[in-house]
């Protein structure tokens, strides 16, 4: 008997809740096997991954720091993906937002004032939007595939950042190393918890989650986005312009990714460097999908992914595991999460037919 997938008439409500649980159990089992292969105690491994990082106040704060950009961008991308607008280039929009926000911080070097931080964040949003609008323009005007244009523009953005930190924005006292000055205190995000790095960006991320949820569930715009994605022809027929949806979702994605970039440079990094993101814009695509393109889901997924990064570091320090093993475990977890989601819309059936096909 061969198993095959049969589409359900209706999504299974049971599986909506059960699938993450199954995924968690499967990845625990896989983790135990992986840790046994590596000759470390499975309990110690799982403890290092999921419990240890959360055992101190600092650890929990770091989870917030790491999750902030992932949640922000994850929410923004899930709106676009829902509408069938494939913005793969959040990394570039983040980089431009960080660069322009950082340039603003350097412009106000050694100045005081409460206007500086709002200006940095606003610059991040506007520049990220501007960068994403290139993609929107090319798509609407020339029907250029946004997957390609947004991805290619990411590389342009990173190289442009390189150009700037090697040139005009270089620290004048930095021995020609490609880094900007450290920002002055008035350009650094206020800290929420004394003695940690948790900054107000985390609150902004929560606000974005709430706004995203309201937009998607309560507004006409949210309805238009969903309709554009699930029934493009019907939605056009109803008078929702496709170009409007493309513009709006790309501007939202670019703006929030740019905000995330500005938060990163004026938060935990505190200066401009040749690289300001270890691929948050790309990881956020996984976040959006693990969160099933729902703002609250994206928040949970962002926190989960952040936890696996912290856990990976702890596992390296405490168990001397190589980074590749922590990467394998992280990937297994995501694989099971996405694979189990299939069960929501499909059920497994053991058909006789498959056997007969084999026999003939």
């Amino acid at each position: 008997m061969l198993p095959s997938l049969v589409k359900r008439q209706q999504p299974s409500t049971l599986m909506v809740y059960l699938s993450p649980v199954i995924a968690l159990i499967l990845s625990m089992v896989a983790g135990v096997i992986l840790f046994l292969i590596m000759k470390v105690s499975p309990f110690g491994g799982l403890h290092a991954f999921f419990i240890e990082p959360l055992s101190t106040k600092y650890g929990i704060a770091e989870l917030g720091v790491k999750a902030t950009p992932l949640v922000l961008i994850g929410v923004a991308l899930s709106l676009g993906f829902k509408a069938g607008v494939w913005n793969i280039g959040a990394e570039g929009q983040l980089t431009i937002g960080g660069l322009c926000g950082g340039a603003m911080a350097l412009y106000f070097y050694e100045q005081q004032g409460f206007h500086i931080i709002p200006l940095i964040l606003a610059t991040g949003i506007v520049s990220g939007m501007a960068y994403a609008s290139i993609v929107a323009f090319l798509r609407v005007k020339f029907n250029a595939n946004e997957i390609l244009t947004s991805l290619m523009l990411s590389y342009v953005a990173v190289l442009f950042l390189n150009l700037m930190v090697h040139g005009p924005l270089k620290d004048p006292d930095g021995f020609n190393f490609p880094e900007s000055r450290m920002f002055s205190d008035s350009a650094l995000l206020p800290i929420l918890l004394e003695g940690t790095r948790l900054h107000i960006g985390a609150l902004l991320a929560l606000t974005v989650v709430a706004i995203g949820w309201i937009v998607m569930s309560k507004t006409l715009l949210g309805y238009q986005i969903k309709a554009a994605g699930s029934a493009p022809a019907a939605s056009e027929h109803a008078g929702f312009r496709r170009s409007k949806v493309i513009w709006i979702t790309l501007l939202i994605g670019g703006g929030i990714a740019g905000l995330a970039g500005a938060i990163e440079v004026s938060g935990p990094i505190g200066q401009l460097q040749p690289s300001i993101s270890p691929g948050y814009g790309f990881t956020a695509i996984i976040v959006a999908y693990v969160g099933r393109l729902h703002p609250v889901g994206a928040m949970l997924a962002g926190i989960l992914l952040a936890l696996t990064y912290l856990g990976g570091e702890t596992a390296q320090i405490q168990l001397n595991l190589p980074v590749a093993v922590t990467g394998v475990f992280q990937a297994l977890l995501l694989f099971f999460l996405l694979a189990c989601d299939v069960l929501i819309h499909y059920r497994i059936q053991f058909t006789e037919q498959a056997v007969r096909v084999e026999n003939t």
Partner: protein, 353 residues
């Protein structure tokens, strides 16, 4: 008031306990690349293993740490989990190291290739440019096409210094030889590095040298039948015929000495810039392809550096514009070398800004 005293007493007891518990020395290492780069991070890990072997202390490491927001957390995690000495082995870890060091005054930090120090932050680096003078000499003698390829990472002083030292040595033995520099903007990316190697060979280079961390360019050289120099580690295993020699970083002695200093309580913050003389820079054995007379010339440069009679940056040196920068009989000071941001005469192209 009483409560406050009680709390501070408990805290003091905690600190005292913490101090006595850390009588056992633990050393942490932060690597920018994977250990499997067989170059930069690999050699630092060799140093870590030497510390474990010779002193029997516990060590831990975190590899592939991005230079950005994550570095500070990793360094802090090492500091707060009982490590008394932490080596951060990439330039981009400088500011995070200094930040964490402020919060952990009792932990000693050692940052490679940076310039910011504090009471508990020392810096160290190696004079790789000394090795570049030796391989520049070999390249000048052995190139037939008179075009040598140079795969460079980032236009920071360390890399510029290497290009200049190589070029000066090469031009000295072969004024006709030229170098072509390709910037790959990465320390470790085997794909990009081998693309650069192929492009350079296609442009007529018959010898390659690199300031990136993977053995990929050597493998390309091996398969295309040209020569190349290894980087950071002896890469002969990847290119048995192509590797002429390799500039090997040797951190073992330094790491063992600094760990010992922490154990004895004699550790002090300082700046160490070791070269051939300190065995922090070593040369791998010459490949079979290097003829005896070239070996002799390379040895002469090496011995000159060792006994102080030769300096890779001794005058007369002209810059690209042909202006005399270092007069006959003078050498560039360490201070000038640290911030070097200009090409010597004979390098083509300009430094990317």
């Amino acid at each position: 008031m009483f409560k406050k005293t009680l709390i501070s007493l408990i805290l003091a007891a905690g600190l005292a306990f913490g101090a006595s518990a850390s009588a056992e020395t633990k050393v942490g290492f932060v690597y920018v690349g994977p250990i499997g780069d067989h170059g930069w991070s690999y050699q630092h890990d060799q140093g870590r293993l030497a510390v474990e072997k010779e002193l029997g202390v516990k060590t831990s490491y975190v590899e592939n740490v991005p230079e950005g927001a994550d570095a500070e957390r990793v360094i802090r995690q090492l500091a707060s989990s009982g490590h008394n000495l932490i080596f951060t082995t990439s330039f981009g870890f400088m500011n995070p190291t200094v930040k964490v060091a402020k919060q952990f005054p009792n932990v000693k930090f050692e940052h490679a290739t940076g310039y910011k120090r504090a009471d508990n932050v020392a810096t160290y680096a190696a004079r790789f440019y000394e090795g570049r003078a030796i391989i520049g000499t070999i390249a000048g003698k052995m190139t037939k096409t008179n075009v040598v390829g140079y795969i460079a990472s980032f236009p920071i002083p360390e890399v510029i210094r290497g290009i200049n030292s190589f070029t000066l040595a090469m031009k000295k033995v072969n004024p006709e030889a030229k170098i072509k520099v390709v910037w790959v903007n990465t320390w470790f990316d085997p794909g990009k590095e081998s693309d650069a190697a192929k492009a350079l060979i296609d442009q007529g280079c018959d010898i390659l040298t690199q300031h990136t961390d993977s053995p990929a360019p050597l493998q390309v050289a091996e398969s295309r039948g040209v020569y190349a120099f290894g980087q950071a580690s002896d890469m002969k295993a990847f290119a048995p015929n192509a590797q002429l020699t390799s500039i090997v970083d040797n951190w073992n002695d330094y790491y063992v000495a600094q760990t010992k200093a922490v154990m004895d309580g004699t550790w002090k913050s300082m700046d160490t810039w070791g070269g051939l003389k300190d065995k922090m820079v070593e040369m791998a054995p010459y490949g079979d392809a290097v003829p005896a007379d070239v070996r002799a010339m390379a040895d002469a440069v090496k011995n000159g550096i060792l006994d102080g009679s030769f300096h890779p940056f001794q005058g007369p040196i002209k810059n690209q514009q042909g202006e005399l920068v270092v007069k006959e009989g003078e050498v560039l000071s360490d201070k000038e070398l640290v911030g070097m941001n200009w090409y010597v005469e004979g390098v083509e192209g300009s430094i990317p800004k």
